[in-house]
């Protein structure tokens, strides 16, 4: 920033902005906890000079339900009704990571079929999460129609989840030792039918959104993330890949059966909101391909669950671990510490929004136009429940 541009910004004392509201140069407004788009319940304390953001502070705490504390008083199996609620749009990643951490501490290996079924649910959840996100991204820039198309397709994926697991939003399908059930009859045909519908909508979205002049003009250059920022701020997932870093846990440290699937890590260069939209859009197309690969290659027979001790009297050996997976928003991980009893001693969740919605957003918002702030938030794909577990 040039020094002469600095005039309209607050004075910096010890690196902190001193905002004198009595000077009438600045206006403080609160945005949220309800937002245009699908960013969830966080509040932004915005200081404006004209319509330009000069300072921003994220306030969280609207969704705090004390999940981590609750888990300390529940047995490992009972925690599954809690962990899925940590992220509403994509609960399966939580279930998988919690189950994988438990299995690792208990020394359990799961059958091959269970690995395929887990991967199938993870990819379906990723696609559902992206479909909801792109609706929010378009909505934040004034195109509500896109959300009508994509959220409808997400609903069809939720139908598939209902058929497979019995639950639409929260599935509790992945449990220690494998999954709760095999695929029902006719499920593969239903998946193929939904994927065809998703492909058709993605084609429409490509024309209507990604080639829209207004969308391109507003998203271009918005929220630029430099490569240096990525490690300093712990930026992960599509936000890091848009900055040109090929970081994808599915490829770098393959888990489940991702090493048997054919896909490449999609990276960009420009690292702004538009590039992040392109990256996520390509990942949606990739998701459809991955789901098709899984249903074609999945073994027809075999156990989907291995025998585990009585889960209500199951003492997990003492130890600690950290297990991660690639969610739609980036690295999702659980730190779990067992003291050898039936209850976890400590479970801590690492959600990608923990950094994206607080430290990163507060940095990127400076200098942004107020009208673009919602689009910036959505372009980081934040999900507040994972901040305040």
């Amino acid at each position: 920033m040039k020094d002469k541009d600095r005039e309209k910004f607050p004075e910096l004392v010890d690196g902190k902005a001193v905002i004198d509201l009595d000077s009438q140069k600045f206006l403080k407004v609160w945005q949220g906890p309800q937002h245009p788009g699908v960013t969830g319940n966080i509040s932004l304390e915005v200081t404006l000079s004209g319509d330009e953001v000069v300072d921003l502070k994220t306030h969280v705490g609207y969704l705090h339900r004390g999940f981590e504390k609750l888990m300390e008083r529940r047995k490992y199996l009972q925690c599954f009704t809690i962990v899925c609620r940590i992220c509403v749009p994509e609960p399966d990643t939580n279930e998988y990571v919690f189950a994988a951490a438990t299995e690792q501490l208990a020394g359990i290996t799961i059958p091959e079929k269970a690995k395929w079924l887990r991967t199938l649910t993870l990819e379906m959840a990723r696609l559902a999460s992206f479909l909801m996100w792109i609706g929010g991204q378009a909505g934040a820039l004034g195109m509500g129609t896109i959300a009508q198309w994509t959220v409808a397709q997400r609903d069809y994926i939720l139908d598939l989840f209902e058929e497979l697991t019995g639950g639409r939003v929260y599935h509790m399908y992945i449990v220690p030792g494998g999954v709760r059930g095999d695929i029902p009859d006719g499920f593969i045909e239903h998946v193929e039918k939904v994927m065809k519908g998703v492909e058709k909508v993605l084609y429409d979205v490509d024309i209507a959104l990604l080639n829209n002049a207004i969308f391109k003009m507003r998203a271009k250059g918005l929220g630029y993330i430099s490569k240096d920022m990525v490690d300093e701020y712990g930026i992960v997932g599509p936000n890091a890949r848009a900055a040109g870093l090929a970081r994808d846990i599915r490829k770098n440290s393959p888990y489940l059966i991702y090493d048997q699937l054919d896909f490449k890590v999609i990276t960009g260069t420009k690292s702004d909101a538009l590039e992040r939209t392109f990256i996520r859009f390509q990942e949606m197309v990739q998701c459809v391909s991955l789901i098709r690969q899984i249903i074609n290659k999945m073994p027809k027979n075999g156990d989907y669950h291995t025998r585990i001790p009585n889960p209500l009297h199951w003492k997990i050996p003492a130890g600690e671990t950290y297990v991660r997976a690639e969610a739609s928003r980036g690295e999702y991980g659980y730190y779990m510490l067992s003291d050898g009893t039936e209850y976890p001693r400590r479970v801590q969740v690492r959600g990608p929004s923990y950094t994206h919605a607080i430290a990163v957003l507060e940095k990127l918002a400076i200098g942004t136009n107020l009208a673009d702030l919602a689009a910036l938030m959505v372009s980081l794909h934040t999900c507040p429940p994972e901040i305040e577990r």
Binding site: K16, V60, G61, H64, G66, E68, K69, R73, Q104, D231, E232, Y233, G234, L245, R247, N252, S253, G319, E320, T321, Y322, R324, E331, G333, Y335, L337, R345, R346, Q348, R350, Y354, T355, I358, A359, V360, K363, E388
Partner: protein
């Protein structure tokens, strides 16, 4: 990973090394050596990604265990640095100068466990809880049931039943209760 551990143990007194899996290891360090060790891992061994900063309350031993999990993107390995600090007046050196995102973790740990990180930006501001008057809620000695009974009151007209007796009464209404 073994080479890194060898170089690390030459420089710092690491103990209690646990190979959790092929590409993940946990080590314990004394409080005084921990931040120099984390800086060394970041600057010289390529552990540039701070995955998380977790705290565990070991009330029976009178200590908090802080676990810094770092990730190396080139080797795709993780290292967990365990640091044990006293539970009475817990203070730890801040790492916000190494990673800007660390201040959020530290702010949360101050609020939820009462662990102070002097110098960390916004450390005394509330993170999730507004106007919290009790002891930090993630500590093991915080009684959640007692807190909820003292703070919240049952809705008038609401009845609560013992599930076992209620279902027996509902399923077998003719049977005399035991």
């Amino acid at each position: 990973m073994n080479d890194i551990l060898k170089r690390l143990s030459e420089r710092f007194p690491v103990s209690n090394i646990v190979h959790q899996r092929e590409n993940m290891v946990f080590v314990t360090l004394q409080k005084i050596n921990s931040i120099p060790c984390i800086s060394y891992l970041k600057e010289f061994e390529g552990f540039t990604h701070l995955v998380m900063l977790a705290a565990v309350d070991f009330i029976e031993d009178g200590i908090f265990q802080l676990t810094y999990i770092l990730h190396n993107y080139k080797l795709h390995t993780d290292i967990g640095i365990r640091v044990k600090i006293e539970r009475e007046h817990p203070v730890m050196e801040s790492i916000h100068t190494l990673w800007a995102q660390a201040r959020t973790y530290q702010q949360e740990l101050k609020e939820m466990f009462g662990i102070d990180f002097p110098g960390s930006p916004g450390i005394d501001e509330p993170f999730l809880l507004e106007g919290w008057q009790n002891i930090p809620p993630m500590r093991k000695d915080f009684d959640t049931l007692k807190y909820s009974q003292e703070t919240f009151f049952p809705r008038p007209g609401r009845k609560s039943y013992d599930p076992q007796k209620y279902m027996k009464q509902k399923l077998y209404p003719d049977k005399e209760p035991e």
